[in-house]
Amino acid sequence: MKLLSNELRLIFRSRLSSCALLLLLLLSSLAVWLGLQQVAQQRHTIERLAELQQKDAEAVADRYADSGDAGSFAYYTFFNTWDPPSDAAYMAMGMRDVAPYVLRIRALGLQAQIYDGETFNPELALPGRFDFAFVLIYLSPLFAIALLHDLVSGERQSGRLRLLLSIPGAGVLWRRRAALRYGLLFAALALPLLVGALASGTATVAIAVALLITASYLAFCVGLSLWVSSRGWSSAANATALMGAWTLLTLVLPTLANMAITRSIPVQQGVDLMLAQRETVHGAWEVPRQETMQQFFEHHPQWRDTAPLPEGFHWKWYLAFHQVGDESVAEKVRAYRTGLEARQRWTEHLGWLLPSVGAQAALHRIAATDLTAQLAYQDRIAEFHREIRQFFYGYLFTDKPLQREDFSSRPVFAPRATDTVSIGAQLLGVMLLGGIVFLIGMARLRWLDASGAVSKRHHSRRVEADLAVIDRVA
């Protein structure tokens, strides 16, 4: 205990280390605070819009209640849908700034509504959010480098290295120092995260997973820093090598990978389906109405034996051709969806190689703010849209007038309950990478020689130990 507190004092006596730790604590607190603020803002917006929507629906009811015309109700009534931020969303805002989390839909063709965007400022979205994910993935490695790049070389440069190495059990000393720095870095990240979790009532599992991701990713950075520091280079060379590695891992390789994934999995089907759906919908005015109805009944036989179309316009025909339009592009919708999912899947695969990508994917999965969460919201909208259609069809196909009290029993959107996130593989990838690199880095500290590098004599033993470590982890 005494030793530990001594080491602790040493760390905090160094201006660089104490400043770095304090700064990291500040930055992660700031990020968590901003995240909580944004989540609160989004929740507030959802509530405010629900009220606004309620008034809007009332206005529709006022206008058409007397007519009892279900078609007018179907055409003019918008329904609100929303995707509330999860209790872990404050960690990683993900796509919630560029994709809608509130969307109004009505009983017309879904495919012409569901891809509508949200208003946001693309120039502000471009650099990305300042959230905990950013602090963890981009900034925390820099702090690990700052604290560890001169762990060994600093002692050599100040002339204490020989003395330290002559102490029996010097390996333990280095590892204690490294572990202490790791612990402090982790604390600087984890404390604000925990406070945030308390403030937003994050589920225990989610916060545990987030902490695991943090610990694993940090372990990777610390392990890599130790690996480099134990090579006997100068502090400047260590810093250069580590910054080079950081640049590759967080800036260069992910963008190269993104380029590869975007090019190999095109998703232009989105535009295709939009164009095709519009042709079918508007083409309906040119084809005999009975033909459209037959197409419709094929998928919805429950309305087949209802009253035939009258001479003039009837809303049920109008809504039917909208639905036929949606159904005519079902194949394209699936293809589009498959493309998006493939992009997401390959990103997750990449997490096995790049801890930055792995940690990002895992953290956003836990926060439910990634592409998968977006698609889940769209699925929920589609489900709700089916309910809306069924509701109006019940009146239109039976020619039952829609009264005010019927209108108040219209379907109400219920957001998907915070889905139980399956995160196994992504988390495992980050943990494995972090664990292996950390253990290798720690193991190398055992065989430092007077030059501050792992001695030649121990070279073969070192390799064996490294392998043993990998064995143990895998």
Binding site: L34, Q37, Q38, Q41, R48, L52, Q53, A59, G94, M95, D97, V98, P100, V102, R104, A112, D116, G117, E118, T119, F120, N121, P122, E123, L124, A125, L126, P127, R129, F130, L142, Q157, S235, A236, A237, T240, M243, G244, L251, V252, P254, T255, N258, M259, I261, T262, R263, M274, L275, R278, H282, G312, F313, R343, T347, S356, V357, Q360, D370, Q374
Partner: protein, 476 residues
């Protein structure tokens, strides 16, 4: 050979023997080339794809059968946003904006199918482009290569020797700066070639390509200055390195991300949801064309009747229903445009706030300059939306005019009658063509950011003089 060039040559000799410098430079050049080729190829294929879709949409519009013009108003049209040629250098917000805009009557739609919603979060790591390489990575390389340039001389004691030989501190610093700038020149060279090719071959306006070239040369020069100034302030190279890395992390990574986020929360944008509801409510308040007693449309009717000198709408020589459609479209478009412009204004305010911070981080100034010159900034996107809206308005009003002229009121109000006009009318509408901002306008808008960058350069040019003088004095 002057003293300065001799010092620079010595520094060069060291640089060329430095493994980090050489491999870093090679990596950077390689990345620039890969990025340039990829961005160019992406820009080309995206444009080919969008041109293809535009042609398809044009064809679909023109090949419509005989229809009632109001059907066509709802059938609408699609326009696709082409990628500006210089996006091959700096894609800017291209991936964050939709490229497909559906135009129809009585509505303003969003541009959809932007890459940002069609990619995994991997996209948020950034796009590999020559601009990204030069903005973010090149300064880092200059730091690695140059952090010890002056500090090394001091650390090893050669600084004293140099000064004792009668070389002025300023000359030493100038020599180091020359060497590092030369190195930076090598790093920026492939990008300059790419820009030169884009400008000379006529792919892009040469003025804008030139502006980009100047901006990035200035940017790297600024970093060379920063590196040499900082290096001359520290006793040890490693301290200079740490200080520079912190500066880089704060100026290039942290602030350009944090400040926009701050602005985003301090100037919130209304959601599309509420703007739509509010606009619709206002629209309803304007009047109801179907209500014979509606004050707004009664006044309109009276005005029309007076203009044609008749007392009943049935006696009008034109189709009154079409006129009402035109009036409704005019009023609703004015309303929607008001909302759209209010939003644009808010976005502009946000960007202006961020721009103020370029006094804090020159990266923000460079980014503004770069995106503006490349035509991949918000202004350009808003330009597309505006032109799309203009086109939509002309199209819809053209169709309404057809309803006014080609259909008879009595027929048009008879639900039993099929009212269709010849499909040849559809072919008479002009096709949409996006007109990017003229280079003069681009240069004007880039000017403020350019000035900020110039101020940064001048400030550090001044600092380096001071640093040189101090260096000389200190040795005495």
């Amino acid at each position: 050979m002057t003293v300065v060039t001799r010092i620079a040559r010595e520094e060069w000799r060291l640089l060329l023997r430095d493994r980090v410098a050489i491999s870093g430079l090679l990596l950077l050049v390689l990345l620039t080339l890969v990025a340039a080729l990829n961005a160019y190829e992406h820009q080309r294929s995206a444009n080919a794809e969008r041109a293809h879709y535009q042609a398809q949409a044009n064809h679909a519009f023109e090949a419509q059968p005989d229809r009632h013009p109001h059907r066509v108003v709802h059938y609408g049209h699609f326009v696709f946003r082409p990628v500006n040629p210089l996006a091959a250098f700096d894609p800017g917000i291209d991936a964050y904006t939709g490229n497909t805009l559906f135009l129809e009557g009585h509505r303003q739609n969003t541009a959809n199918f932007g890459d940002v919603r069609q990619s995994s979060l991997l996209l948020r790591f950034g796009l590999l482009s020559p601009a990204f390489v030069l903005q973010v990575l090149a300064p880092l390389l200059l730091i690695f290569v140059g952090h010890a340039s002056v500090a090394r001389e001091r650390e090893s004691g050669t600084l004293r020797v140099l000064l004792a030989q009668g070389i002025a501190g300023r000359q030493i610093v100038a020599g180091k700066l020359l060497a590092l700038s030369g190195f930076a020149g090598l790093a920026v060279l492939p990008a300059l070639f790419a820009l030169g090719w884009l400008g000379v071959s006529g792919h892009a306006p040469w003025e804008q390509a030139l502006l980009l070239a100047v901006a990035y040369v200035g940017w790297l020069l600024l970093w060379a200055l920063v590196v040499v100034v900082v290096s001359s302030q520290f006793q040890r190279g490693r301290d200079a390195l740490l200080a520079l890395l912190v500066a880089w992390a704060v100026l290039v990574i942290l602030l350009p991300r944090w400040l926009p986020d701050l602005v985003n929360t301090s100037v919130p944008l209304p959601t599309r949801f509420e703007s739509a509801i509010n606009a619709e409510r206002e629209y309803k308040e304007l009047g109801d064309a179907h209500n014979p007693d509606d004050p707004y449309f009664s006044a309109f009717r009276a005005q029309v009747l007076e203009k044609y000198g008749v007392t009943r709408i049935e006696d009008l020589p034109v189709n009154y229903k079409g006129l009402v459609g035109m009036e409704g479209e005019r009023a609703s478009s004015a309303l929607f445009n008001r909302y759209a412009e209010a939003l644009f204004e808010l976005q502009r305010q946000q960007n202006a706030l961020v721009d103020h911070f370029s006094w804090l981080s020159p990266t923000l100034a460079l980014r503004r300059l770069s995106m503006t010159a490349a035509g991949t900034d918000l202004e350009n996107f808003q330009r597309f939306l505006r032109q799309g809206e203009d086109y939509r308005y002309q199209l819809i009003q053209g169709l309404n005019q057809l309803q006014v002229d080609e259909l008879v009121y009595a027929d048009d109000t008879n639900p039993k009658k099929e009212n269709r006009i010849s499909h040849t009318h559809w072919q008479a509408f002009p096709e949409f063509e996006f007109r990017p901002a003229p280079p003069g306008n681009v240069l004007d808008r880039a000017l403020p950011a350019g000035l900020v960058l110039l101020c940064w350069l001048m400030a550090f040019a001044m600092l380096i003089r001071v640093a040189g003088t101090r260096l000389g004095r200190m040795a005495r």
